[in-house]
């Protein structure tokens, strides 16, 4: 790709960017949110048209009018937001749009699917609905979709953002294998360890410009980090003294039914002190989601008690709990955190709509709401084109900044943060966790779920692990011991 330039209105997303990717191997593209990584990839994939610049594939100039043409040329992309249709089976999703004929040959398709999955070391129940897939499963299915279409150049946008460490390393094993087989993989990521361990070359973007391209063997993590942010990073202020605050959140013997009728939480007990950030480690689907939903009042527990600052939550609606100071940074910001077609202004009040200053009596105070929206957008420097534009006009990372800042804006008492730094770059991650720490310094308690154990170890005061619906606390003195937590995550003591 040579001299790619793309503008959205007055915003220049890409400014004459070059990208050379050698055949075979894994090429990383790194940069902050809004650096232009995803835009560049979408140009390559034919989903966007560049204003200027040219594209060459195997030495021949090409022009992709649409992603269909890109696929035909062997270029495929897995985006941050999966294109899986929940109501179809895994197999139907796999072959959708590339059925290979007018008449379906399900048997042959299933055989070929199984062969592909085997080659990658994946396991699928092909006839079950895609809605039953975990995020990791969905990610794997997306990769298989590219292989099904015989893509030679595969673009992966933040593939590990939703994966547990074990799933992520399994994914990279398969990617390494694909690369060894001659596939070309372009990896968009925020996680530098992934770049250093698995990639051959790396291109750094900043502010829509190509800053540098390096062989991974010739660089270091700190050099990359500096190139990405364009200056030295502040050292995180993690090790701090938490005062012996009183118990804020107390959960005893909590059981919750899961979506399939079995117990998703099995008699959980945990307490969090005011001022404390408790990290919950564990692979996806261990019951973290149900725990958050039970605390927020979205599901009714079958058993057990939840109290916050001595107030019993039994019988309190979700709205009552918000009034008590419970705030959620939801797992899936698109579905759970925002209304995409609403303006930033309107979204600023979502979840806080009954609280002052957003509401005055039963009426909306739009002046106050506008002022708050401004504050929320400024807090973690959300890049936007105007508070009156729809939420859908923001990139994923900027939406996350907005949603995180909103949860922190009205003196929360209990913060339930599900991957609060999802899709954020290093600086954004640090800002959000600093924000959570600031709220805790004011007396809040925080529960943080992440599938990135290193992130939790770095950012939280104390860690527990969840496995199979149980919550496991490490022994005294081991609450930040990587190995001890790692063992608990897989259910071993």
């Amino acid at each position: 790709m040579k001299g790619i330039t793309k503008c959205f209105g007055a915003v220049t997303a890409l400014d004459s960017v070059d990208l050379d990717v050698a055949a075979g191997g894994i090429h990383a593209v790194v940069g902050e949110n809004g650096a232009g990584k995803t835009t560049l990839m979408r140009v390559l994939y034919g989903a966007l048209h560049a204003d200027e610049g040219s594209l060459e594939l195997d030495g021949k100039p090409v022009r992709f009018g649409s992603s269909r043409e890109a696929i035909q040329a062997g270029v495929g992309m897995v985006s941050q937001h999966y294109g899986i249709i929940p109501a179809l089976t895994c197999l139907q999703n796999l072959i959708l749009g590339a059925e290979g004929g007018t008449i379906l040959n399900i048997k042959a398709a299933a055989q070929r699917a199984e062969a592909l999955a085997k080659r990658m070391g994946f396991q699928f129940d092909w006839n079950s609905d895609a809605s039953t897939l975990s995020p990791a499963g969905a990610q794997k299915l997306e990769i298989l979709k590219l292989l099904w279409r015989e893509a030679r150049i595969m673009i992966l946008d933040e593939p590990t953002a939703m994966l547990s460490p074990a799933d992520a390393s399994a994914l990279f094993e398969s990617l390494d294998r694909l690369a060894a087989d001659g596939a070309t993989i372009i990896l968009v990521t925020h996680r530098l360890p992934e770049v250093l361990e698995h990639c051959n070359r790396v291109t750094i973007l900043r502010g829509g410009k190509r800053i540098d391209e390096k062989a991974v063997a010739d660089t270091t993590g700190s050099e990359l980090a500096q190139l990405i942010v364009g200056g030295a990073l502040d050292k995180p202020t993690t090790h701090r003294q938490i005062s012996d605050g009183k118990t804020a959140l107390q959960i005893t013997d909590l059981s919750v039914k899961g979506s399939r009728g079995d117990l998703a939480l099995k008699g959980i007990g945990v307490s969090v002190r005011s001022g404390e950030i408790l990290g919950i480690a564990g692979v996806d689907g261990s019951g973290q989601r149900e725990l958050f939903h039970a605390i927020a009042g979205l599901v009714k527990p079958t058993e057990g008690n939840i109290t916050l600052d001595g107030v019993d939550f039994a019988g309190l609606s979700a709205a009552d709990r918000i009034e008590q100071g419970v705030r959620v940074i939801a797992e899936d910001r698109h579905e759970e955190g925002v209304v995409e077609e609403w303006s930033l202004d309107e979204n600023a009040a979502l979840g806080l709509q009954r609280l002052s200053p957003f509401a005055k009596g039963g009426t909306v105070d739009s002046t106050a709401r506008h002022a708050m929206a401004q504050k929320i957008a400024e807090r973690f420097s959300t890049k936007h084109g105007g508070l009156n534009l729809p939420m859908a006009s923001l990139s994923g990372g900027n939406q996350q900044r907005f949603v995180a800042a909103r949860a922190l804006c009205l003196a929360p008492k209990l913060l339930l943060a599900f991957q609060p730094a999802r899709g954020l770059d290093l600086k954004g991650t640090q800002q959000v966790y600093d924000g959570i720490r600031a709220a805790c310094a004011e007396g809040a308690a925080a529960l943080v779920v992440s599938f990135d154990l290193d992130e939790l170890l770095e950012q939280c005061d104390r860690l527990v692990a969840m496995n199979g619906g149980k919550l496991l606390e490490p022994l005294d003195g081991q609450s930040k011991d990587r190995d001890a937590i790692g063992r608990l995550m897989v259910g071993a003591h």
């Binding site: 009552d320 959620v328 579905e335 995409e340 009426t363 959300t382 936007h384 859908a392 006009s393």
Partner: protein, 331 residues
């Protein structure tokens, strides 16, 4: 984008002109007849406004349900139930009291007719389109039975109720026939303004629209989506009932078999054309009123009235193309 709209409009006009030519009518004469028949004289304008009134109020009923994410096809049924209940009261209680009670009872009847659909949607997730269509049929045949039997005017050949006393009817704001305007239209405008303000200014209105736009996010925001769904259905039904009651008290004076020529269904088009803004229901219903009244004039000229429905269909399509465009990421 703009080219696509222009292409659509041109295409729609070409198809219409073609259809008229095939029917051996001059398109220009047809348009003249339509405009003359709906806006060409004081009497025509009065007739257009009369047609507009039920379309406006019923359109608002569909509109408020749409804002909550509900497709209330049952406004037709709610409208005729409101009309019949209102007639029942207005025949028994005279004067202004009877009129006001009639309107209120009409709203209650409409709301009650929407209640089963609301309950089934909110608590059993049964689709409101199915349930309201079924309730429409029940309402249609139930009211037909009522005006053939217990509520029938025994002195008349018609399957209709007796006529409501003039003192109980809604007053004219201007009454020099053929130029007439009933205060029912003003009531409709007031309801539109009230709904627009309610949606924009109140927390409840905000929550209703959140449920309509993203029910999952609404749940996370502490909103009881079940309660909001039920309430929205009841309010929609009440406004639908009001449309029927107003039609009785302002214009018809009685209820009869075949009372509504499909106002509740035309209201779907009105609300879809209006989109997200309650004020837009005003011009949308006026447009439907013009085409409805003008269509009658066309019919006199031998052009099928259905041609105006074709125009409306194209208009709704064009509005949809303009509205549902992709949002580009800017940051």
């Amino acid at each position: 984008m703009i080219w696509r709209v222009i292409a659509l409009v041109t295409g729609a006009l070409a198809i219409l002109a073609g259809a008229l030519l095939v029917a051996h009518e001059s398109p220009i004469v047809a348009v003249q007849t339509l405009i003359h028949g709906s806006l060409g004289s004081p009497a025509a304008i009065a007739g257009t406004l009369r047609e507009t009134t039920p379309l406006l109020i019923a359109g608002l009923a569909v509109f408020i349900a749409l804002r909550a994410g509900l497709f209330n096809i049952g406004v037709e049924g709610q409208l005729i139930m409101g009309a019949v209940a209102c007639t029942f009261v207005a025949l028994r209680i005279p004067n202004a009291l009877g009129m006001i009670l009639g309107l209120i009872v009409g709203m209650i009847a409409g709301a009650l007719w929407a209640l089963p659909a609301g309950l089934i949607k909110a608590y059993r997730n049964g689709h409101e389109v199915i349930t309201t269509i079924m309730l429409n049929n029940v309402a249609l045949y139930l009211t037909s039975a009522l005006v053939s039997g217990p509520m029938k005017d025994k002195t008349s050949q018609d399957t209709a109720t007796p006529t409501v006393d003039a003192a109980t009817r809604m007053p004219w704001v201007y009454n020099h026939p053929p130029v007439q305007a009933n205060c029912a239209l003003i009531l409709g405008v007031v309801v539109a303004i009230g709904l627009a303000l309610w949606l924009k200014k109140t927390v409840a209105g905000y929550e209703l629209q959140a449920v309509g736009a993203n029910p999952t996010a609404a749940k996370f925001a502490g909103i009881s989506t079940q309660r909001v769904t039920l309430m929205a259905m009841l309010v929609s039904g009440a406004i639908g009932g009001l449309a029927g009651a107003v039609q009785v008290l302002a214009y018809e004076g009685r209820f009869y078999s075949g009372f509504s020529p499909g106002y509740g269904f035309d209201a779907l088009g009105v609300a879809l054309l209006a989109g997200t803004n309650a004020f837009a229901v005003l011009p949308a219903s006026l447009l439907f009123g013009i085409l409805s009244k003008g269509g009658t004039a066309l019919q006199v000229d031998g052009v099928p009235k259905g041609i105006t429905t074709v125009v409306l269909g194209f208009l709704i399509l064009i509005a949809a193309v303009i509205r549902y465009r992709k949002v580009n990421t800017v940051a």
